[in-house]
Symmetry: C2
Subunit: 202 residues, 2 copies
Amino acid sequence: MNTVNTKPYHHGNLREEMVRIGVELAAEGGPEAVGLRETARRAGVSPSAAYRHFPGQDSLLEAVRHTAADALGQSMQHAVSEVAADAPATEQVIAAGRGYFEFALNRQMLFRCLASGFELPEEDSRDSPFARLLELVGGLKREASAVVDDHAARFDAAVALWSAVHGISVLCTSGALRDVPQPRKRELLEVTLATAVRGLRF
Amino acid sequence: MNTVNTKPYHHGNLREEMVRIGVELAAEGGPEAVGLRETARRAGVSPSAAYRHFPGQDSLLEAVRHTAADALGQSMQHAVSEVAADAPATEQVIAAGRGYFEFALNRQMLFRCLASGFELPEEDSRDSPFARLLELVGGLKREASAVVDDHAARFDAAVALWSAVHGISVLCTSGALRDVPQPRKRELLEVTLATAVRGLRF
DNA sequence: CAACTATGTGAACGGTGTCCACATCGTGGT
DNA sequence: ACCACGATGTGGACACCGTTCACATAGTTG
């Protein structure tokens, strides 16, 4: 116990260290860059050591994805928190979309880890990005001539919004629009967001 | 020249064969399942033989993606051709979206090859799916109170639609909605499509 | 028929994920 | 205080992968 407090066994919490390095690798070279051997190498540890903390490579990648998903949520939350709390719900929903998109633009490789992700099942319900979006969409009903209130309709509306934002994010990072200049990308996001939000009204 | 006509050299057009097998592999196990050695093995050929036709593995995958993109285009075109040619443009646009989505659902792994695709640059302009979509969106302006006519606005509208359809497709195949039952997925598609199309009107 | 080029082969290199027998180290039971 | 035990890390092996190179073969062209 020489450095901070909990460096329990040999190396001190290897697992966290490997996830941290995994995120680093993913941020540099995308999902296929996060390999067990390379991660272990950068952690100054034998390749086999990884198997004390992860059943296999997929498990490491999954942990990296989880971290990335958290960062995405923070980006959304930050963007939402920057509009006035009593601003029209429309503004808040659009802000959430901007936060999503900005994360995709600024951390492209990390976002690709999420986009190519098989497993992101639980989402810890509480401050899951989707849960927050559901809440914001619920706020939309209080607005002028907006969506209905029952849970199903609210879910459907959230999916429609999520699809639009995720779609433009993917197209602008790994898709057909990835070579478009950034300012134009932001324009396209605004158009897509406006279209989706407008489409929710009758 | 014993079988059909053009089996020029040793094996007879290996390249096409490898692409065919590559598509097969991709359809079974996604993009990471299409490997040079496995493809060569199934073609009954040495691994090195592949390098006479492809500079590397990425090139093979790119060829597979090109084939998949063609199939996607056909799916869209087929869906569009099933609505009356003089049907409202809205119906045609929605049909195109359904064709896109159905391809994603029915050929999930193949679609993932496209979604995770880096390079799809040219698209042969003529019957590129996006070009066709642009055309259909152009038709929207003739409808009731629809979008404006200038090229930029038409492009923006097409991007907004594309984003929504691509987004729901990704979410339903490799994303958070992949475990939703199929009929519900189609419902969600309809909601998303309706929202996007409705959003294009003022 | 000879030379040439296109195509396919076999063996090798470095890299990977995964597993196994063994080493080491903190800790809890007596 | 000791000692056995479980948690953690090591080194070496295995099979596989993508890639390259020197070599073999087979159509084509003069």
